[in-house]
């Protein structure tokens, strides 16, 4: 081997702002995404805290009704389109997919950079409504017609922003599919690919094939607002329900855009911290495809009370229950992976366990919503709000933070303070459940969502929930402060493989050099998690 230490990391090859924002290196683009994502996430979270503050007591606490409505819309738009849909693919997918496949970049590096720029433009458009026009939209992130056509707030800009962000998502998906088909290192067949790559593959197909539908739907809303007449207007024979169909044809598959990459991350962390192969590799890999596929056909479960035909309600409810099966397969295989492992309890594993627990709660509440009788009662109540925060934040959000703790030493070449990370995790976990569990209760009691004010009998759970949001915020600040240390070049340096992982990214330097590898990566003999034949990794 040549002198390894002379290899410059991707951080050090070129300096200056322009070397970042015009870089076509997938690792730099990933970090661009990370920083911009966190910024928008912090805006979204602040809005969330404001909402909780407003809901502390019945009546007005902080803002007017209209402002509240704009806050939850912007909160939803930011969290969905700016944070959770891009989150894991755009940050960890971009950074690690090429490395895990043993190549030096994605298939279309320039397109990759373009997708970040498009993302930024879309994000700025979404946030510009705070300053320009008649204020942010007040429609909810679903932009249901006809209210979204009638309201005087700046819906047009918000909708166009979502349209532009869709493009960014499509470009990322397209890039990943081609990369996975074309750039796997020799010997790495599809069935020897790490599960994270499988998850991204399934996700990318959803991004590619579902996003265009919402694109055109949102353009129709724009046309309606601009021309003053439109396709969803009943007075000319249109049907507002059709809007909902088109919206959910995208937006239900989109929830699996949020969930599948998280499943992938979990499937990476479990073998590493159990030091054994994953249980049921093929079952996990193919269940991702199954979820992606079935997920296309169940959008109607968001519309059970819209006056849809009984036949459709029947079919959509039945199909909804089918997605639970591949998810169940995953959960069981994950738990079985812990069996007879040699388990090393580290912060990423804590996030993994919390993920499984919370995602189950989220998933099971999803089943309650998927059943017709119960959804009639629970639709558009806080039960739904509880459900989706459990899956999105308790699931994907926790996977995101887990992934950040897991790959952190690889990205920055340094380790954070583990004790601190554990403390932050515990506070985070308690705060999370304190914030969202009461929402399930208050939903069962019948409190509708998107309510600025509520009846006195809903007071107690709302109060607990608001206090929970403060606990959660504390945990989060601790966590971020701990992680920020490495960013500022504090914390001990680590070698190539601090967690004793097996996928290819652990064979290279931390942080990786520009072309990702300083020596030829070796793939394990029997599949990606074959710890018995793990290639020796010399520093």
């Amino acid at each position: 081997m040549t002198a390894v230490s002379t290899q410059l990391s991707f951080f050090d090859t070129r300096k200056g702002l322009f070397s970042w924002i015009f870089s076509v290196d997938h690792k730099r683009i990933a970090l661009l995404y990370l920083y911009s994502l966190i910024t928008f996430f912090l805006v979204g979270v602040t809005l969330g805290l404001l909402m909780r503050y407003e809901l502390l007591n019945p009546g007005k606490d902080l803002v007017e009704a209209k402002t509240y409505n704009q806050i939850f819309t912007l909160h939803g738009v930011i969290m969905i389109f700016l944070f959770i849909i891009p989150s894991i693919p755009a940050v960890f997918g971009n950074f690690f997919l090429p490395i895990m496949l043993g190549t030096d970049d994605v298939s279309f590096p320039k397109l990759n950079l373009l997708s970040w720029w498009v993302y930024i433009v879309g994000a700025l458009m979404a946030l510009s409504t705070l300053v320009f026009g008649d204020g942010p939209a007040d429609t909810g992130w679903t932009f249901y017609a006809p209210y979204s056509v009638k309201t005087g707030t700046n819906v047009t800009m918000s909708v166009l922003a979502a349209f532009v962000l869709g493009f960014s998502s499509i470009l990322t998906g397209l890039n990943f599919i081609v990369t996975i088909h074309r750039l796997r290192t020799p010997g790495m067949t599809f069935l020897k690919m790490p599960l994270f790559a499988w998850a991204l593959y399934a996700t990318s197909w959803i991004q590619l094939l579902a996003t265009p539908i919402i694109g055109i739907t949102l353009l129709m809303i724009t046309a309606e607002r601009v021309l003053g007449v439109g396709l969803f207007d009943p007075s000319i024979g249109g049907d507002p329900i059709l809007y909902q169909h088109l919206f959910w044809i995208y937006s239900h598959p989109a929830v699996y855009i949020m969930a599948l990459p998280a499943f992938g991350v979990i499937s990476e962390m479990l073998p590493t911290f159990s030091q054994r192969t994953i249980f049921g590799y093929k079952a996990i890999a193919f269940s991702s495809l199954a979820i992606a596929f079935v997920g296309y056909f169940i959008w109607g479960h968001h519309m059970f009370t819209s006056g849809m035909s009984g036949t459709a309600r029947f079919i959509f409810s039945m199909l909804t229950f089918l997605v639970a099966i591949p998810t169940a397969i995953k959960v069981f295989n994950w738990v079985a992976t812990l069996y007879k492992g040699s388990i090393n309890v580290q912060p990423p594993l804590l996030y993994t366990l919390a993920f499984i627990f919370q995602f189950m709660i989220g998933g099971f509440t999803g089943l309650v919503l998927g059943a017709l009788a119960t959804d009639i009662h629970l639709h558009d109540t806080y039960f739904v709000v509880g459900h989706f925060h459990y899956v999105m934040f308790g699931g994907t959000g926790f996977a995101f933070f887990g992934a950040l703790h897991y790959w952190y030493p690889k990205i920055w070449g340094r380790m954070y303070n583990i004790t601190m990370a554990n403390i932050a995790f515990v506070i985070f976990f308690i705060g999370f459940n304190m914030l969202y569990f009461p929402m399930l209760i208050v939903g069962l009691m019948g409190m509708p969502r998107r309510y600025y004010d509520y009846l006195p009998e809903f007071h107690l759970p709302n109060m607990i929930s608001t206090y929970g949001s403060w606990v959660l915020a504390t945990g989060l600040i601790l966590m971020l402060a701990n992680l920020a240390a490495g960013f500022f070049k504090k914390g001990p340096k680590v070698g190539r493989n601090p967690w004793n992982g097996i996928t290819l990214e652990w064979q290279t330097l931390s942080p990786p050099p520009v072309q990702n590898f300083d020596r030829m990566p070796e793939i394990p003999l029997n599949g990606p998690y074959d710890f018995e034949n793990k290639p020796a990794i010399k520093e």
Partner: protein, 303 residues
């Protein structure tokens, strides 16, 4: 959970218990197994891991069991729901109107009320009509909900099993005062209901114009005391000089009978400066010219 006061409540609650029961069982079971593994196979206790690739038998088992269970859940969900869509013949039919941000009800005899009064133990079919945007008619105590969709006739029906007053909430986001779009349903004995039906509505001696304003939910947006809610206040509005925007051009007008009538029939033709277009819907099909005259009459008195 709230009182369960309709014939469906039982079916809905039962399917809820089935699903939650199965779920809690798996949630607790899986969590305990998971934590046990983490404890038992901790690297202190189990320094060397055993590689187990998987097991076909287990995969089949844990595909089959959830499949079975979700079909059970689906079945109960469907059974609990089925009666909701079939209103029995001869049910008492009431029309419910939703508009920004008020429910109103029209009984077969033409009486219009703000809240619902129904007889105990009799099926009631509510036909749902929206005058502007989406709303949803939600009675938590009855476990009932259905959207009000402009241009589409939806309905729901129920049979109350308990006397008392229950909340009606709007469960589909419909704009600024969505959370204040409340009403109630009062369930009374048959005899009381007959009595209520017989009592003549509107015995109060209020101005007929005011009655109309209340009835049509004008007052959710327009105050009578000068304060600004969603629309301009009615106080002192008659005879006032005002700036309106017509087709994007500002102009000054003096408010007279014709203007008020136009504002009610085509609210978006002239939009008062500083207010949003599109919020107020046309009442052309709802109010007759006489009624508008009566409203105008009343507005004149608010000086």
């Amino acid at each position: 959970m709230r009182a369960s006061a309709s014939t469906f409540a039982q079916g809905v609650d039962f399917s809820l218990y089935v699903i939650v029961g199965i779920s809690v069982f798996f949630l607790i079971g899986i969590t305990i197994v998971m934590l046990y593994f983490v404890f038992r196979y901790n690297k202190k206790r189990n320094p060397v891991a055993t590689n187990i690739e998987g097991s076909h038998k287990l995969e089949v088992i844990w595909t089959a069991i959830p499949t079975l269970l979700v079909m059970v859940m689906f079945y109960f969900g469907w059974m609990g729901y089925k009666p909701l869509r079939k209103a029995p013949d001869g049910a008492l039919e009431v029309k419910a109107y939703g508009q920004m941000w008020k429910f109103s009800f029209e009984y077969p005899d033409g009486r219009i009320t703000d809240s619902l009064v129904v007889p105990l133990g009799k099926p009631v079919k509510v036909n749902l009509v929206s005058r502007d945007v989406l709303h949803s008619f939600f009675i938590p105590a009855f476990r009932m909900k259905e959207d009000m969709v402009p241009g589409k006739d939806n309905f729901l029906w129920f049979e109350a099993t308990e006397k008392g007053r229950f909340d009606i909430l709007c469960a589909e986001y419909c704009g600024q005062l969505h959370s204040y779009m409340l009403s109630s349903v009062t369930v009374v004995e048959d005899a009381q209901y007959e009595q209520w039906l017989a009592s003549t509505a509107g015995t109060s001696n209020e101005h007929p114009g005011l009655a109309l304003l209340k009835q049509n939910a004008c007052l959710t947006c327009h105050s009578q005391d000068g304060s600004k809610i969603i629309g301009p206040s009615f106080k002192g509005v008659f005879g006032k000089t005002e700036i309106v925007v017509t087709d994007g051009v500002e102009r000054e007008i003096v408010i007279d009978e014709a203007y008020i009538s136009r504002s009610i029939k085509q609210p978006n033709a002239d939009v008062v400066k500083g207010y949003m277009k599109g919020l107020m819907v046309s009442y052309e099909a709802v109010l007759t010219d006489e009624q508008i005259a009566s409203i105008t009459d009343y507005i004149k008195t608010l000086q």
